[in-house]
Every structure is written in structure tokens, then in C-alpha cells.
């Protein structure tokens, strides 16, 4: 079968490689990389009753919200007129740029921004609709903040970058797709560095719609468990600074990891239901592996999409078996969504970050709330407690409404940042 590779990149840290040199996160589990990672490793849940809007009339009351962003120094340039989703993205990008020590060394023309989101500035979109219907006041910023391009413009302008700035919207496959397209830009020589990020905020619009789709649970989010009955959505942003390896080396920056291979595709099957046997998901994972020239049996860990819905987790399991064959059973797999909630457009970014930290520190964060094995999800689930492991190659898998899929293969080499033991 012809596969659908998005980008090929070298899978070692030679000068042709694409590397990750900075990371940033805003999430229900913390608004710094150390806090986020420590909470993941200790199996903490970021799910709680929602407080940012009144959910009394909604059927679902629990989700993952961002707290204390301003108190933690998130994005001083973002005022209240900036949409909350964009504020999340600005704060994550700010962390990634500083983490990469890029502020003084960036070549503005060679630095691009590729963001991705499901709903972008939908809080501002709600204001716009309410203004039209007479249910709300006119606000100066409603159109600008609703325009998804604004997020990328704000990130680029923050640092004076004049490379291309784009925003993708591929539902819950968005975050990984941003990495894939960012890597393509570097590979094609369109940019030396790309700030690749995913972001979304919880709003009444999306909470109402996602609730109506009946994909959420009123209980615990328990991916791959026999009694799983839905996901829980959350908000946040993840940012990765992708960089041409030679440029990173010239700056004297030690990378976190190599972006070894990426792919995007579509099931071409149904808007909301997974393809039978997870065919599209299998194709995108196989394509990303082939893209990086990586044999399936050299993958040490799978960071799954793992939403906690009946349909996703069983079809994703089938897809993994299709791609990895017998190696699937001996490859540890986790879903950090069990702790972060489903971060929508930020999910693929946050999961790539977790994958990189897994390789750095040799610890796989757990899939919490896991009680009863499901015969249809008979993989090596890292259940409830973090597991020490030597992981040098990881694949992060994503999928979304509309039938879109994306996958990213990340590798750690001796030239990457040395590991630390997470507390």
C-alpha cells in the first residue's frame, strides 16, 4: 500500500537532522516543563470540576483547566484583550524560546511559526456571535482574536521573527501535525528554526459541542481499560522549538531529541468514527517510521493517542499491532491523557514533550485509572505507576475528528541532553 509520508528527516544528529532545542508547556498539570513532568511521573490527575464558566446546565462537569498562568509569569505582553487560548500559546512559546536560549541568536528571517489548534480564539468567537444576536456587547478585539492567524502573528511579533507564520487546524491531530509541517519547512530550507505549537482553550462552544457528541465520560478517564467510557477534554498549549541541527550546533545548544520522522494523513472513511481496524492510524504510524528509516522493532515506547473512548483505544490497539506485529506486545505504551485530559489542539504537542522527557530521564509516565485489562487493548500498558525504561526511540500518535491522523517519531542520541531522574 502506498503510504502518505509528510516529511523525511535524518534520524541521527548529523547536520541534516532536525532537532528539538526548546520546550514549553501550559497545562492542567502545570505551566512549566519541570512541574508538568514531575506531575506526570507521579501520576497526578489534572482533572477537576470546571470553574472558568458555569457548567451547571451541562451534562459534563469535569475537565482539565489551566490555573495560575499569570502568577507563574506567563506572557507579560498578553493583556486581558488577548484571547485565553492565544495567551496559553504565547506563554508556552515564551518558555520554549528561552529554553532554547534563542533570544539573542535568532536569525529573524529564518525563524518560522507553525501553530495548530482546534478552536483557536473561540472565546472571542462566542463574543462575536453574541454581539450579532444581541446577547453581548461589542468588543474591539473580537474579530482579531477570533482570527486564528492572530496567534501565529503574536508569537512571531513577540520575537521579531519574519519567517512564515501559519496556523493549522486538524482537530485533535493538530499538535503533531504542527511538528510535521515545521519539520518539512526546515527540511526544504524554508526556515532554520520553527516554533511548532498546539493550543486550545475550553469554552462554552466546544464544551457544548463535545458534550453533544457523547464522547465524554462522567467518571474517570481510563484509557485502554475494559470499563472506559469516554474522554475528558482539557486546555493548554505546548511548544517545541525545532531547529536545523547544524544551526543548533553553531549556537552551542545541546538538543533534547531528534525529530526522526513524521506523517499526516486521513482515514477517508468517516467524519467521527475511526476507520475499521484503525487503518488510517496504522498507515500514518508506518509512514512516520519509514520516513525516519526506522524499523518498527527498534521503537522502545509508544505514546498513544489513547483518548479513553471505546472506539479509539481498541482501534488504536489494532493499528499498533498492524504496524509493530509481535513487537507490539513487548513495547510499553502509555496515554498521558489519563492525567492531562484530552488537550485537543495541544495534545500532540504535550505528548511529544512527554515523549522527549521520557527518553531524557528513562522513565515512562503512567496511564492512571487503569483497573481492568481489556482483551481488545492487550498491549503492555504502563498502568498507574511510572516505569523506568531505557527509551531511545518513541512514536507519538494522534488522531482527530474529520478522520485526520498524525504521528511523530522522536529519537535520543548521545549528542542529546543527558538524563535526569524525575522526582
Amino acid at each position: 500500500m502506498e503510504e502518505c509520508v509528510l516529511v523525511t528527516s535524518s534520524h541521527n544528529t548529523d547536520d541534516r537532522a532536525i532537532v528539538v532545542t526548546g520546550m514549553g508547556i501550559v497545562s492542567p498539570l502545570g505551566n512549566t516543563i519541570p512541574e508538568f513532568w514531575a506531575n506526570l511521573c507521579r501520576g497526578k490527575s489534572g482533572i477537576a470540576p470546571l470553574t472558568s464558566f458555569d457548567v451547571a446546565d451541562f451534562p459534563y462537569h469535569n475537565g482539565g483547566e489551566v490555573h495560575d498562568l499569570a502568577a507563574q509569569g506567563g506572557q507579560p505582553a498578553a493583556t486581558d484583550s488577548v484571547d485565553p487560548a492565544t495567551r496559553f500559546m504565547l506563554a508556552a512559546a515564551d518558555q520554549a524560546v528561552r529554553d532554547a536560549d534563542l533570544t539573542a541568536a535568532a536569525d529573524p528571517r529564518a525563524t518560522a511559526v507553525v501553530l495548530a489548534t482546534n478552536f483557536g480564539g473561540m472565546r472571542s468567537g462566542e463574543d462575536l456571535v453574541a454581539w450579532i444576536t444581541g446577547d453581548g456587547p461589542r468588543t474591539d478585539a473580537m474579530l482579531t482574536e477570533f482570527n486564528m492567524q492572530t496567534g501565529a502573528d503574536r508569537v512571531a511579533n513577540q520575537w521579531g521573527w519574519t519567517g512564515t507564520r501559519t496556523v493549522l487546524s486538524l482537530s485533535c491531530a493538530s499538535g503533531a501535525a504542527a511538528i510535521a509541517y515545521g519539520a518539512l519547512l526546515i527540511r526544504m530550507g524554508r526556515a532554520t528554526r520553527v516554533l511548532a505549537g498546539g493550543y486550545d482553550a475550553l469554552t462554552r462552544f466546544c464544551w457544548s459541542g463535545l458534550g453533544a457528541l457523547r464522547t465524554m465520560t462522567k467518571g474517570a478517564l481510563r484509557p485502554f481499560d475494559l470499563n472506559r467510557d469516554g474522554t475528558l477534554f482539557s486546555e493548554g498549549a505546548g511548544a517545541l522549538l525545532l531547529e536545523d541541527a547544524a544551526a543548533a550546533r553553531r549556537r552551542g545548544v545541546t538538543p533534547y531529541a531528534v525529530v526522526a520522522g513524521c506523517a499526516t494523513n486521513n482515514n477517508a472513511h468517516h467524519m467521527t468514527a475511526p476507520a475499521p481496524e484503525g487503518a488510517g492510524s496504522a498507515r500514518v504510524m508506518a509512514a512516520a517510521l519509514r520516513d525516519g528509516g526506522i524499523a518498527p522493532d527498534s521503537v522502545d515506547h509508544i505514546n498513544a493517542h489513547g483518548t479513553g473512548t471505546k472506539a479509539n483505544d481498541s482501534t488504536e490497539t489494532t493499528a499498533i499491532k498492524t504496524v509493530f506485529g509481535p513487537h507490539a506486545a513487548r513495547t510499553p505504551i502509555t496515554s498521558i491523557k489519563s492525567m492531562t485530559g484530552h488537550l485537543m489542539g495541544a495534545a500532540g504537542s504535550a505528548e511529544a514533550i512527554a515523549s522527549i522527557l521520557t527518553m531524557r530521564d528513562g522513565i515512562i509516565p503512567p496511564t492512571i485509572n487503569y483497573r481492568d485489562p481489556d482483551p481488545e487493548c492487550d498491549l503492555d500498558i504502563v498502568a498507574n505507576h511510572a516505569r523506568p525504561a531505557t527509551v531511545k526511540t518513541v512514536i507519538s500518535n494522534s488522531a482527530g475528528i474529520g478522520g485526520c491522523n498524525s504521528a511523530v517519531v522522536l529519537r535520543w542520541t548521545d549528542a542529546c541532553r543527558a538524563g535526569e531522574v524525575a522526582s
Binding site: 509528510l6 456571535v129 524554508r190 478522520g403
Partner: protein, 408 residues
């Protein structure tokens, strides 16, 4: 990366001036615009009243089966993909064919109706089936399903540069050999929400009639006339296109990116536009100066001026090439804008669109004329050979595409 040549083998325009290759080309040759008072929704609360609407378009005959519901933008997108695939002569597109689309506000009409239902009746009475049609990637997902296009899949949401980014991404995928065939373009639908908010923000042309509108690069221009539609192009690996006997309508030879946060200000020098045009020129394997420029200009005061200055900087001491302002007929179709411009460029390159709209000396902004911008639009001119297509977003992003006549 060893580049492969990228052939354009199919076009699918769904526009206010015509649907399909022949109708679109005929409207261009007739110089026919589509500006009328809005009929889709009331304009009593807005100062602008004009728009370029698509009327009497029925997508259903172009689809395999009847759809229970489609957002207006999805109708345009699906129609354009169907027309482009048909135009490319495919019975079945290659198995790895992918999609790259752009839009500014996607399925905003459905999103607005959905949220109005929430505001009116509360969350327990919203219509679930509508929600899946509210996503920005609804149209591209539906297209993948409808036409069986499972390959690389990218959906850009970037206002005026969205479809340019999509075409550029598709170019990179095919040129690098990562895809053999991509359908790329963009779509947009007029909605009351965005029309009213754009009017409120002072972005729209407030002329009462089309003849009173200043138009791109014009004197006393004060905004654009909003439009809707979709444009899709089939991009193929050159050798694969030749091997299947496809008609190569034009060659996409290069792309260029840049940005300039000052575009929507009076301090814009055109630096970002110039940089993107230069990058696209340099990206071309055997670069020749563009003899024709399809400008992004839409009647916006600052952005038009910035683009003019950028073009002049890019041209340098050479005579100003022919300027084509397709938006003087089409209006500003946001996410579909550059895709329709590119289709116009393809039709011009292969001689089907012989009369191309441009600013006239009498209408040209005096300050731009003084800066050296000349009209160069000549109804009797020979077909262009090397074309630049610009996409300029007032937020700062700039994409420039380079096309040339087919040379086997």
C-alpha cells in the same frame, strides 16, 4: 533535497463570476465582476452593503451521494475539488493523493448557528449533528472521504494567506517526492458574523455601487468587497503527469515566504513583500523575471500600498511588470483568494484568459503612481510566460508563488 518538477494538471474554480474552467475564463475575458448588494443576509446594521456572492450553485450533482447537511463553505470546497479532479482527467486519483486546504473562518456559518442555539435554548438543546460541521477542518475531512483522498493532509487557517500556504505546502510535498499528487487550494463562505464584524472593524468597502468602489491600488480606496468561493488545483509530479498523458496546464516553479508586521500601517516599506517575491524567484530552478504579477491587493488602504512598494522594490530598476488585480472582479474571498488568483494565473499562462483586469492610469492611486507603480495592464497583451502570485495578509504573513508556461 533534490526537487522534482511540479505540474498543475487540474483546476476547479467555484467563484462568484463563474463555476468551472470555462465559465471562470469567460467571465475573466468579459471583465465581468460579481459585486451586488448582499442577498444572503440583511445589511441594515452595516455600513457596507456590497459583496460578491455565489448564486444558484448546487454541489450535489458533483457528489457521489446526496448529503443531508453541508456548511456553505464545505459545499464550495467539495465542488471545487470535484471540478479540479475532473479537470485533471482522473478516473481514480493516485492512491497516495493528499489534500492541502486553506480557509480563514471555515464553517463559521454552522458554528454561528450552533452557538446561537446554545445562547437561545441552552446546551441541552443544541443540535449534535451540527457540531461536527463547525470545525475548521470539516471541509477537508469531507473531501477526503467523498473523493477517497487518504494522503498527506494539511489544513491552514490563515486569513488572506491560507490558500497560498496550502498550495506552497503541496508544492513542497510533491517537489520533495513525498507525495506524487496533491489537491490544494482554499475555500470561504460569506457569513453575517464575519461580514458584520469586518464592517465594524472598518475593513470593508462602503461604496453603494460597484462602479463607485475604488478597487485595488485605487484612489480613495477604503476597504475590500467581501467575496466567497473556493479554488482547488491538482499538483502532480511532473514525470507522473507525463506518464499518464495528463495535460500539464502550467508549472509551479517556486514558492517564497516572508513576514512584515508593519503591513497594515503607514510605516510599511514593502520589505516583507519584496522578500517573499525574491525568495520565490530564487526558489525557481531557472529563474526568469516575472512578466506578470497577480497582486494580492484588494482595496485595503495600507496593505495595497505596502504591496505596491514591495513589488517596486522587488522589480528594482526593471520596468514594472503587468499588474493583474483579479480581486477587482472577484472581491476578497479570504481563504479562497489566492487559490482563485492562482487558477486565474494558470488560465492566463495557457492563453485561455486573455484579458486580465488591472488598475487603470486614471484610477491608480497618485502616490503609488508617483512611486513608480505603472499599470501595465493591456487587454491585447500576449499571454504571460512567468507569473508571480502574491498573498499578503494584513497581519504580516506573505506568500509568493511562481508559475510559468508549460515547457516540456
Amino acid at each position: 533535497v533534490n526537487r522534482r518538477r511540479v505540474a498543475i494538471t487540474g483546476i476547479g474554480p467555484v467563484s462568484p463570476i463563474g463555476v468551472g474552467r470555462e465559465a471562470f475564463a469567460a467571465a475573466l475575458n468579459a471583465g465581468r465582476h460579481a459585486f451586488e448588494p448582499l442577498s444572503l443576509f440583511a445589511t441594515t446594521a452595516t455600513q457596507a452593503t456590497l459583496a460578491a456572492e455565489i448564486r444558484d450553485f448546487d454541489v450535489q450533482p458533483l457528489l457521489a451521494g446526496r448529503k443531508a447537511y453541508l456548511d456553505r463553505s464545505s459545499q464550495f470546497a467539495l465542488g471545487a475539488v470535484a471540478l479540479a479532479l475532473r479537470d485533471a482527467g482522473f478516473e481514480t486519483p493516485p492512491a497516495d493523493t493528499g489534500l492541502a486546504m486553506g480557509t480563514a473562518f471555515g464553517s463559521m456559518q454552522t458554528a454561528g448557528v450552533f452557538f446561537e442555539g446554545f445562547l437561545e435554548k441552552g446546551t441541552r438543546f443544541v443540535k449534535p449533528f451540527l457540531f461536527q460541521h463547525t470545525y475548521a477542518n470539516t471541509a477537508i475531512g469531507l473531501a477526503a472521504i467523498e473523493f477517497g483522498l487518504p494522503g498527506a493532509h494539511l489544513n491552514f487557517v490563515g486569513a488572506l494567506t491560507a490558500s497560498a500556504s496550502a498550495i506552497a505546502a503541496a508544492y513542497d510535498l510533491v517537489a520533495s517526492g513525498l507525495a506524487s499528487c496533491m489537491v490544494a487550494g482554499g475555500h470561504e463562505a460569506l457569513t453575517e458574523y464575519i461580514y458584520a464584524a469586518s464592517d465594524d472593524a472598518g475593513l470593508l468597502c462602503r461604496a453603494a455601487t460597484a462602479t463607485a468602489a475604488a478597487g485595488p491600488f485605487g484612489k480613495a480606496r477604503g476597504g475590500y468587497i467581501p467575496a466567497e468561493g473556493a479554488g482547488m488545483l491538482v499538483l502532480e509530479d511532473w514525470d507522473a503527469a507525463l506518464a499518464r498523458g495528463a495535460v500539464i496546464q502550467a508549472e509551479l516553479t517556486g514558492i517564497g515566504f516572508a513576514a512584515d508586521s508593519a503591513i497594515d500601517t503607514d510605516t510599511c516599506t514593502g520589505r516583507g513583500i519584496c522578500a517573499a517575491m525574491q525568495a520565490a524567484h530564487d526558489d525557481t530552478a531557472h529563474p526568469e523575471p516575472a512578466d506578470t504579477i497577480f497582486a494580492s491587493a484588494n482595496g485595503a488602504w495600507y496593505a495595497d500600498r505596502g504591496e505596491a512598494l514591495g513589488i517596486l522594490a522587488a522589480v528594482g530598476s526593471q520596468p514594472c511588470p503587468r499588474l493583474v488585480t483579479l480581486k477587482s472582479l472577484l472581491g476578497e474571498a479570504l481563504g479562497a483568494g489566492t487559490a482563485l488568483q492562482t487558477i486565474g494565473a494558470v488560465l492566463a499562462l495557457n492563453g485561455q484568459a486573455r484579458q486580465l483586469p488591472g488598475p487603470t492610469d486614471a484610477a491608480l492611486d497618485d502616490s503609488l503612481a508617483a512611486a513608480g507603480l505603472s499599470c501595465g495592464s493591456d487587454a491585447t497583451a500576449t499571454p504571460p510566460r512567468h507569473v508571480a502570485v502574491n498573498a499578503v495578509d494584513p497581519g504580516g504573513n506573505v506568500v509568493s508563488l511562481r508559475l510559468q508556461q508549460t515547457q516540456i
